[in-house]
Amino acid sequence: MKPVFMTYTKKDLINLAVCMVLSVLIIPSFITTEYWYTSILIPWLCLALATIGQQIVMGYTGQLALGAAGFMAAGAFAMFNLILRVPDLGFVGSLIVSGLIAAAFGILFGLPSLKVRGIYLMVATLASQFFIIWMIDKFGWFKNYDSSGIITAQDIVILGKPFTTPLAMYFVCLAVTTVLTLLAMNMARGSTGRNWMAVRDMDIAAESMGVSLLRTKVQAFAISAFYCGVAGALFAFCYLKSLEPVAFDIKLSFKILFMCILGGLGTINGAFIGAAFILLFPVLLNAIGNNVFHGAIDATIISSIEQVIFGGLMIIFMIYEPLGMAKLWENLKQSLKLKLSSSGIKSVKSPAQKSE
């Protein structure tokens, strides 16, 4: 029996502690405006979670998939129906089960990955995107026969306590994201992640080393869809507070793809960096438009410019740093460390020096 949990190093624990102090103590005490929670922090956590899902299948396993939003929709509507029809499950139970339902879709639409890769697989995953949205849209049962098209999400109640204020919802998202992120890091470092990366780097070689392609790929798709499903449920219940299939269209899939690639393929922190960038950059552009040009530039032009910049960045990163912003951050840390050690402020001995 292989150990299920990796041992964490001291550095990991420090990182975790810093993140927890930042997100649990510092952010709630300094940020008091609702806007930050409802429009930035909550969607950031939800989309970062979905991006981790995309990372697992694309960054770690190397399968070009483009259907994250479809799985998110599956998770969101599963959540709605579970709370509506099986109230005994409770919020957390429903969240887990809706993730599992999304995972079932992930397995189904991940099967073509056994045969094809690259753009072929992308087309197969597009099928999942369009099919899931269509299914939810056309069968009234999923929407509880609501004809208005937009359904209000139920309130979040955990153990009899309502979580309806922005701050409370932020904590719900934070808790779920933290647990799942830790799990993802665990998987990525353990034998599961090593199998994924072996398949990514050379699937035929991995297979000849005894890694089962069927198992590894299907597992990656299932786990990825689970993450997307949970993220979709949170996205609908904490951020949108409503459910409509249109919110999970192909544009959202592309957005998550961009978050994943710009953030840095094959990294977990890249998911958070990428999601933050894609979310905050339009806010920044709008602020520039409003404050520097005083609204002289039309909002549609600003969103067009935003698109040009995202696309341009994608090309630039592909050319100069295919590993994305996470790698840039890593490089920055490295060069800072080097500078510190060479200027003699703090002598950091590398393992090579020690052995000499």
Binding site: S304, I305, L313, M314, I315
Partner: protein
């Protein structure tokens, strides 16, 4: 009974002709893939960009139809030039997945630029060909077939023949085939790789413009064209990525199957199954014949 058969024929022919519209988009894709083994995800964006530019020239600057078309075509050549210089050349030795992601970025750039320059509202494009049944066919064959569909079919046929002749009988075509076969070997015997790439991207741009005109005349020139163009992907999977006839046959199959399914099976599921039916069809093809009907067999070496 006869009426039912006629109705089926009408659905089928309408689907086939609508399929040639997908073929036109797929054609640009195949051109680039043949010459450089690059999956150009931005082909849909090129369709949108070129036809919006064409409309912009005509409607905002009052440039006459033919001149505007030539200007838009020239603009696509410039786009091709920039793409070759700024995107493809730096990524010469990158893996195909990396290039694919870069073309997704390129698509975003083109969509954004088009909307920034010419606005986001839906524009009408009048080619002088109505999207209504041709009276002559309606009277004699009792089939209601749109004039626009027939034009699209004719245009597609002309383009195929033109491209076929270009590939087969000209020196440029020979160079193209050589580059497609082995870019390294071709450049070592003195075939100018850069010019070939520029030519291919420009040709794909012009094909995109023509496809955009057809789509624009039917559905209006709008952002939704990009999503429609995504349907060229299943077309390519069915036809094979490297085959021009494949793009045509694939388009016809997708067009016919999605219309027939929509009309006969769609009502049982609340309709609108044409949104995903082509992709599911493509999955079945991928499972049984991943190289498509006319594509070269995919061989991967360890």
């Amino acid at each position: 009974m006869v009426d039912e058969l006629l109705f089926f024929m009408e659905v089928l022919v309408g689907g086939l002709l609508a399929g040639t519209m997908y073929s036109l988009v797929a054609l640009g894709f195949v051109l680039i893939f043949k010459a450089s083994a690059t999956f150009n995800f931005s082909q849909g964006a090129m369709v949108f960009f070129s036809v919006l530019a064409f409309c912009g020239f005509m409607q905002d600057f009052n440039i006459p139809f033919v001149l505007a078309f030539i200007l838009a075509a020239l603009l696509m050549v410039v786009v091709g030039l920039c793409t070759e210089r700024l995107v493809l050349r730096p990524l010469m030795n990158a893996s195909e997945d990396t290039v694919l992601m870069a073309t997704i970025g390129l698509g975003y750039v083109l969509e954004g630029l088009a909307q920034a320059a010419w606005g986001v509202e839906v524009r009408r494009l009048d080619l002088g060909i109505g999207d209504f049944p041709v009276p002559w066919i309606a009277d004699n064959l009792k089939l209601f077939i749109s004039a626009l569909d027939i034009t699209a079919g004719l245009v597609a046929a002309i383009m195929i023949i033109g491209l076929f002749l270009l590939f087969k009988y000209t020196k440029i075509g020979l160079g193209l085939r050589a580059v497609a076969d082995d870019a390294g070997a071709a450049s070592s015997i003195g075939i100018p790789l850069k010019h070939i790439m520029l030519l291919v991207w420009s040709a794909a741009g012009v094909v995109a413009l023509v496809a955009g005109c057809m789509w624009g005349a039917r559905a209006g020139v709008q952002f939704a064209l990009v999503d429609l163009a995504l349907k060229a992907l299943p077309v390519l999977i069915i036809g094979g990525f490297s085959s021009i006839p494949g793009a045509i046959i694939g388009g016809l199959i997708i067009g016919a199957v999605e219309k027939v399914l929509e009309v006969y099976i769609g009502p049982f599921f609340g309709g609108a199954i044409e949104g995903w039916a082509p992709y599911v069809l493509a999955i079945f093809f991928l499972l049984y014949r991943p190289e498509g009907l006319f594509g070269e067999k995919i061989i991967r070496r360890v």
